[in-house]
Symmetry: C2
Subunit: 176 residues, 2 copies
Protein backbone atom coordinates (compact mmCIF):
# COMPACT_ATOMS: atom_id res chain seq x y z
CA UNK A 1 0.00 0.00 0.00
CA UNK A 2 1.20 3.52 -0.80
CA UNK A 3 0.86 5.87 2.17
CA UNK A 4 1.44 9.61 2.27
CA UNK A 5 0.71 12.08 5.06
CA UNK A 6 -0.61 15.65 5.06
CA UNK A 7 -0.11 17.77 8.16
CA UNK A 8 -2.66 20.58 8.53
CA UNK A 9 -3.85 23.01 11.19
CA UNK A 10 -2.89 26.29 12.72
CA UNK A 11 0.06 27.18 14.92
CA UNK A 12 2.37 24.65 13.31
CA UNK A 13 5.49 26.68 14.10
CA UNK A 14 4.55 26.77 17.77
CA UNK A 15 4.10 23.02 17.52
CA UNK A 16 7.47 22.54 15.95
CA UNK A 17 8.53 19.58 18.06
CA UNK A 18 5.19 17.89 17.59
CA UNK A 19 5.46 18.35 13.81
CA UNK A 20 8.93 16.79 13.93
CA UNK A 21 7.52 13.79 15.79
CA UNK A 22 4.65 13.49 13.28
CA UNK A 23 7.23 13.46 10.50
CA UNK A 24 9.43 10.84 12.15
CA UNK A 25 6.40 8.64 12.81
CA UNK A 26 5.34 8.94 9.16
CA UNK A 27 8.79 7.79 8.08
CA UNK A 28 9.18 5.00 10.65
CA UNK A 29 5.72 3.48 10.24
CA UNK A 30 5.66 3.13 6.47
CA UNK A 31 4.73 6.37 4.70
CA UNK A 32 6.89 7.58 1.82
CA UNK A 33 6.21 11.31 2.06
CA UNK A 34 4.75 14.10 4.20
CA UNK A 35 3.28 17.41 3.04
CA UNK A 36 3.18 20.41 5.37
CA UNK A 37 2.91 24.20 5.36
CA UNK A 38 3.68 26.94 7.81
CA UNK A 39 6.38 24.75 9.38
CA UNK A 40 9.96 25.42 10.30
CA UNK A 41 12.07 24.67 7.18
CA UNK A 42 14.74 23.09 9.41
CA UNK A 43 12.56 20.03 9.55
CA UNK A 44 13.69 19.09 6.03
CA UNK A 45 17.32 19.10 7.16
CA UNK A 46 16.46 17.07 10.24
CA UNK A 47 14.81 14.39 8.13
CA UNK A 48 17.64 14.37 5.59
CA UNK A 49 20.06 13.67 8.44
CA UNK A 50 17.83 10.88 9.73
CA UNK A 51 17.61 9.34 6.23
CA UNK A 52 21.39 9.53 5.85
CA UNK A 53 22.06 7.87 9.18
CA UNK A 54 19.23 5.31 9.32
CA UNK A 55 18.31 4.76 5.65
CA UNK A 56 15.27 5.31 3.40
CA UNK A 57 14.45 8.19 1.07
CA UNK A 58 11.45 9.55 2.95
CA UNK A 59 10.43 12.96 1.57
CA UNK A 60 9.21 16.21 3.15
CA UNK A 61 7.42 18.67 0.87
CA UNK A 62 6.57 22.20 2.00
CA UNK A 63 3.30 23.24 0.35
CA UNK A 64 1.22 26.39 -0.01
CA UNK A 65 -2.33 25.07 0.06
CA UNK A 66 -3.49 21.87 1.71
CA UNK A 67 -6.78 21.67 -0.15
CA UNK A 68 -4.91 21.58 -3.45
CA UNK A 69 -2.94 18.58 -2.19
CA UNK A 70 -6.13 16.72 -1.27
CA UNK A 71 -7.73 17.55 -4.64
CA UNK A 72 -4.69 16.40 -6.57
CA UNK A 73 -4.41 13.17 -4.56
CA UNK A 74 -8.08 12.42 -5.12
CA UNK A 75 -7.50 12.73 -8.88
CA UNK A 76 -4.63 10.29 -8.47
CA UNK A 77 -7.07 7.83 -6.80
CA UNK A 78 -5.80 8.20 -3.25
CA UNK A 79 -8.41 7.72 -0.54
CA UNK A 80 -8.35 10.51 2.05
CA UNK A 81 -8.16 9.32 5.66
CA UNK A 82 -8.66 12.11 8.18
CA UNK A 83 -7.74 11.40 11.79
CA UNK A 84 -10.11 12.98 14.30
CA UNK A 85 -11.33 12.03 17.76
CA UNK A 86 -14.89 12.54 16.47
CA UNK A 87 -14.67 9.95 13.70
CA UNK A 88 -15.54 6.28 13.37
CA UNK A 89 -13.66 3.91 15.64
CA UNK A 90 -10.53 2.45 14.02
CA UNK A 91 -11.55 -0.98 15.33
CA UNK A 92 -14.61 -0.84 13.07
CA UNK A 93 -13.01 0.44 9.85
CA UNK A 94 -9.45 -0.88 9.79
CA UNK A 95 -10.26 -3.88 7.57
CA UNK A 96 -11.84 -1.64 4.98
CA UNK A 97 -8.92 0.82 4.93
CA UNK A 98 -6.50 -2.07 4.64
CA UNK A 99 -8.13 -2.89 1.32
CA UNK A 100 -7.23 0.49 -0.23
CA UNK A 101 -4.26 0.82 -2.60
CA UNK A 102 -3.25 4.43 -1.92
CA UNK A 103 -4.12 6.60 1.05
CA UNK A 104 -3.37 10.16 2.12
CA UNK A 105 -3.57 10.45 5.90
CA UNK A 106 -4.62 13.93 7.04
CA UNK A 107 -3.24 14.79 10.48
CA UNK A 108 -4.62 17.92 12.08
CA UNK A 109 -3.14 20.08 14.79
CA UNK A 110 -5.60 22.31 16.65
CA UNK A 111 -8.67 23.84 15.01
CA UNK A 112 -9.06 21.72 11.90
CA UNK A 113 -11.38 23.38 9.37
CA UNK A 114 -14.71 21.73 8.61
CA UNK A 115 -13.64 21.11 4.98
CA UNK A 116 -11.16 18.49 6.17
CA UNK A 117 -14.05 16.37 7.45
CA UNK A 118 -16.05 16.90 4.29
CA UNK A 119 -13.23 16.17 1.85
CA UNK A 120 -12.26 12.94 3.61
CA UNK A 121 -13.32 9.48 2.46
CA UNK A 122 -12.80 8.27 6.03
CA UNK A 123 -12.93 10.21 9.30
CA UNK A 124 -11.29 7.87 11.78
CA UNK A 125 -10.95 8.11 15.54
CA UNK A 126 -8.21 6.26 17.39
CA UNK A 127 -10.67 6.08 20.25
CA UNK A 128 -12.80 9.04 21.29
CA UNK A 129 -10.59 10.29 24.11
CA UNK A 130 -8.14 13.16 23.59
CA UNK A 131 -4.52 12.12 23.13
CA UNK A 132 -2.10 13.14 20.40
CA UNK A 133 -1.93 13.35 16.63
CA UNK A 134 1.45 11.60 16.93
CA UNK A 135 -0.02 8.52 18.60
CA UNK A 136 -3.11 8.57 16.37
CA UNK A 137 -0.97 8.48 13.24
CA UNK A 138 1.22 5.68 14.59
CA UNK A 139 -1.72 3.50 15.62
CA UNK A 140 -3.50 3.97 12.29
CA UNK A 141 -0.43 2.91 10.32
CA UNK A 142 0.40 0.06 12.68
CA UNK A 143 -3.14 -1.30 12.41
CA UNK A 144 -3.17 -1.00 8.62
CA UNK A 145 0.23 -2.58 8.05
CA UNK A 146 -0.20 -5.06 10.92
CA UNK A 147 3.28 -4.62 12.35
CA UNK A 148 5.18 -5.56 9.19
CA UNK A 149 6.88 -2.15 8.93
CA UNK A 150 8.53 -2.69 12.32
CA UNK A 151 10.62 -5.52 10.87
CA UNK A 152 11.50 -3.68 7.69
CA UNK A 153 15.14 -2.92 6.84
CA UNK A 154 15.70 0.60 5.52
CA UNK A 155 18.32 0.67 2.79
CA UNK A 156 21.18 3.14 2.42
CA UNK A 157 21.74 4.14 6.06
CA UNK A 158 25.09 4.49 7.80
CA UNK A 159 23.93 2.66 10.90
CA UNK A 160 21.72 -0.25 11.78
CA UNK A 161 20.45 -1.36 15.18
CA UNK A 162 20.53 -5.01 16.14
CA UNK A 163 17.67 -5.56 18.62
CA UNK A 164 19.00 -6.60 22.02
CA UNK A 165 17.74 -7.39 25.52
CA UNK A 166 20.02 -4.94 27.37
CA UNK A 167 22.03 -1.95 26.22
CA UNK A 168 22.78 -0.92 22.63
CA UNK A 169 24.07 -2.86 19.66
CA UNK A 170 24.62 -0.66 16.61
CA UNK A 171 26.42 -1.59 13.38
CA UNK A 172 28.33 1.23 11.75
CA UNK A 173 28.16 0.41 8.05
CA UNK A 174 30.64 3.11 7.11
CA UNK A 175 33.45 1.07 8.75
CA UNK A 176 35.56 -0.92 6.36
CA UNK B 1 -3.76 -5.68 33.56
CA UNK B 2 -2.60 -2.77 35.71
CA UNK B 3 -0.48 -0.29 33.76
CA UNK B 4 1.44 2.71 35.09
CA UNK B 5 3.92 4.97 33.29
CA UNK B 6 7.16 6.62 34.41
CA UNK B 7 8.52 9.51 32.34
CA UNK B 8 12.28 10.00 32.66
CA UNK B 9 15.07 11.89 30.91
CA UNK B 10 16.58 15.32 30.75
CA UNK B 11 15.15 18.55 29.41
CA UNK B 12 11.60 17.67 30.34
CA UNK B 13 10.56 21.30 30.74
CA UNK B 14 11.81 22.11 27.27
CA UNK B 15 9.78 19.12 26.11
CA UNK B 16 6.69 20.32 27.83
CA UNK B 17 4.29 19.69 24.98
CA UNK B 18 5.74 16.26 24.37
CA UNK B 19 5.33 15.40 28.06
CA UNK B 20 1.70 16.53 27.86
CA UNK B 21 1.14 14.23 24.88
CA UNK B 22 2.84 11.33 26.72
CA UNK B 23 0.48 11.93 29.63
CA UNK B 24 -2.65 12.08 27.45
CA UNK B 25 -1.61 8.89 25.66
CA UNK B 26 -1.08 7.14 29.00
CA UNK B 27 -4.59 8.11 30.04
CA UNK B 28 -6.31 7.34 26.72
CA UNK B 29 -4.64 3.97 26.10
CA UNK B 30 -5.30 2.34 29.44
CA UNK B 31 -2.79 3.38 32.12
CA UNK B 32 -4.08 4.53 35.51
CA UNK B 33 -1.18 6.80 36.52
CA UNK B 34 1.96 8.58 35.34
CA UNK B 35 5.02 9.55 37.41
CA UNK B 36 7.26 12.40 36.30
CA UNK B 37 9.85 14.87 37.63
CA UNK B 38 11.28 18.12 36.44
CA UNK B 39 8.06 18.83 34.57
CA UNK B 40 5.81 21.86 34.43
CA UNK B 41 3.32 21.54 37.33
CA UNK B 42 0.58 22.92 35.06
CA UNK B 43 0.36 19.49 33.56
CA UNK B 44 -1.55 18.28 36.61
CA UNK B 45 -4.19 20.97 36.07
CA UNK B 46 -4.39 20.12 32.38
CA UNK B 47 -5.09 16.47 33.15
CA UNK B 48 -7.61 17.31 35.87
CA UNK B 49 -9.52 19.36 33.31
CA UNK B 50 -9.40 16.49 30.82
CA UNK B 51 -10.66 14.03 33.47
CA UNK B 52 -13.48 16.39 34.39
CA UNK B 53 -14.58 16.85 30.79
CA UNK B 54 -14.02 13.36 29.40
CA UNK B 55 -14.12 11.10 32.46
CA UNK B 56 -11.74 8.76 34.34
CA UNK B 57 -9.62 9.42 37.40
CA UNK B 58 -6.21 9.16 35.76
CA UNK B 59 -3.46 10.38 38.13
CA UNK B 60 -0.29 12.45 37.66
CA UNK B 61 2.33 12.24 40.41
CA UNK B 62 5.35 14.54 40.52
CA UNK B 63 8.30 12.64 41.97
CA UNK B 64 11.82 13.39 43.16
CA UNK B 65 13.74 10.28 42.16
CA UNK B 66 12.84 7.94 39.33
CA UNK B 67 15.01 5.05 40.55
CA UNK B 68 13.07 4.99 43.82
CA UNK B 69 9.84 4.60 41.84
CA UNK B 70 11.25 1.65 39.90
CA UNK B 71 12.56 0.00 43.09
CA UNK B 72 9.25 0.42 44.88
CA UNK B 73 7.27 -0.91 41.90
CA UNK B 74 9.56 -3.93 41.66
CA UNK B 75 8.82 -4.71 45.31
CA UNK B 76 5.14 -4.45 44.44
CA UNK B 77 5.69 -7.10 41.71
CA UNK B 78 5.41 -4.77 38.73
CA UNK B 79 7.46 -5.77 35.70
CA UNK B 80 9.50 -2.87 34.32
CA UNK B 81 9.08 -2.29 30.58
CA UNK B 82 11.55 0.23 29.18
CA UNK B 83 10.86 1.60 25.71
CA UNK B 84 14.01 2.11 23.63
CA UNK B 85 14.80 1.92 19.93
CA UNK B 86 17.69 -0.41 20.84
CA UNK B 87 15.54 -3.07 22.51
CA UNK B 88 13.85 -6.26 21.38
CA UNK B 89 11.23 -5.92 18.69
CA UNK B 90 7.70 -5.56 20.09
CA UNK B 91 6.50 -8.11 17.51
CA UNK B 92 8.66 -10.73 19.25
CA UNK B 93 7.80 -10.00 22.90
CA UNK B 94 4.23 -8.70 22.96
CA UNK B 95 2.69 -12.09 23.82
CA UNK B 96 4.98 -12.43 26.81
CA UNK B 97 4.27 -8.91 28.12
CA UNK B 98 0.54 -9.52 27.68
CA UNK B 99 0.86 -12.29 30.24
CA UNK B 100 2.07 -9.93 33.00
CA UNK B 101 -0.31 -8.69 35.68
CA UNK B 102 1.26 -5.32 36.48
CA UNK B 103 3.67 -3.29 34.40
CA UNK B 104 5.46 0.02 34.79
CA UNK B 105 6.30 1.46 31.37
CA UNK B 106 9.42 3.61 31.43
CA UNK B 107 9.36 6.30 28.73
CA UNK B 108 12.59 8.19 28.18
CA UNK B 109 13.14 11.57 26.63
CA UNK B 110 16.68 12.25 25.38
CA UNK B 111 19.78 10.81 27.04
CA UNK B 112 18.34 7.99 29.10
CA UNK B 113 20.84 6.78 31.73
CA UNK B 114 22.28 3.29 31.41
CA UNK B 115 20.60 2.23 34.68
CA UNK B 116 17.20 2.38 32.99
CA UNK B 117 18.26 -0.43 30.65
CA UNK B 118 19.73 -2.45 33.51
CA UNK B 119 16.78 -2.06 35.88
CA UNK B 120 14.24 -3.07 33.22
CA UNK B 121 12.74 -6.54 32.90
CA UNK B 122 12.04 -5.78 29.26
CA UNK B 123 13.78 -3.35 26.91
CA UNK B 124 11.38 -3.07 24.00
CA UNK B 125 11.77 -1.36 20.64
CA UNK B 126 8.74 -0.26 18.63
CA UNK B 127 10.90 -0.91 15.61
CA UNK B 128 14.52 0.19 15.43
CA UNK B 129 13.98 3.43 13.55
CA UNK B 130 13.83 6.77 15.39
CA UNK B 131 10.32 8.14 15.91
CA UNK B 132 8.74 9.41 19.12
CA UNK B 133 8.23 8.31 22.71
CA UNK B 134 4.59 9.31 22.24
CA UNK B 135 4.03 6.86 19.41
CA UNK B 136 6.14 4.16 21.08
CA UNK B 137 4.02 4.33 24.23
CA UNK B 138 0.76 4.24 22.27
CA UNK B 139 1.80 1.25 20.16
CA UNK B 140 3.01 -0.72 23.16
CA UNK B 141 -0.26 -0.24 25.01
CA UNK B 142 -2.38 -0.86 21.92
CA UNK B 143 -0.53 -4.10 21.21
CA UNK B 144 -0.82 -5.28 24.82
CA UNK B 145 -4.51 -4.44 25.22
CA UNK B 146 -5.36 -5.39 21.64
CA UNK B 147 -7.56 -2.42 20.94
CA UNK B 148 -10.04 -3.00 23.76
CA UNK B 149 -9.24 0.33 25.44
CA UNK B 150 -10.39 2.19 22.33
CA UNK B 151 -13.97 1.01 22.93
CA UNK B 152 -13.92 1.70 26.66
CA UNK B 153 -16.36 4.20 28.19
CA UNK B 154 -14.75 6.52 30.74
CA UNK B 155 -17.06 7.23 33.64
CA UNK B 156 -17.78 10.59 35.24
CA UNK B 157 -17.10 12.95 32.33
CA UNK B 158 -19.23 15.90 31.29
CA UNK B 159 -19.09 15.02 27.60
CA UNK B 160 -19.08 11.94 25.44
CA UNK B 161 -18.35 11.59 21.75
CA UNK B 162 -20.57 9.45 19.57
CA UNK B 163 -18.40 8.16 16.70
CA UNK B 164 -19.62 9.49 13.35
CA UNK B 165 -18.68 9.40 9.67
CA UNK B 166 -18.66 13.18 9.13
CA UNK B 167 -18.49 16.10 11.54
CA UNK B 168 -18.89 16.00 15.32
CA UNK B 169 -21.48 14.41 17.56
CA UNK B 170 -20.94 15.18 21.23
CA UNK B 171 -23.33 14.53 24.09
CA UNK B 172 -23.25 17.10 26.88
CA UNK B 173 -24.11 15.09 29.99
CA UNK B 174 -24.44 18.19 32.16
CA UNK B 175 -27.66 19.14 30.27
CA UNK B 176 -30.84 18.29 32.09
Amino acid sequence: MKIEVLRIGTRLVRDDRVTTHVTLVSRAFGASKIYMYDANPEIKETIEKVNKMWGSDFKVEIIENWKDVIKSKKKDLFKIVHLTMYGENINDVQDQVRGEEKILIVVGAEKVPREAYDMADYNIAIGNQPHSEISALAILMDRILQGQHLQKKYSGGEREIIPTKKGKNVIDKTDN
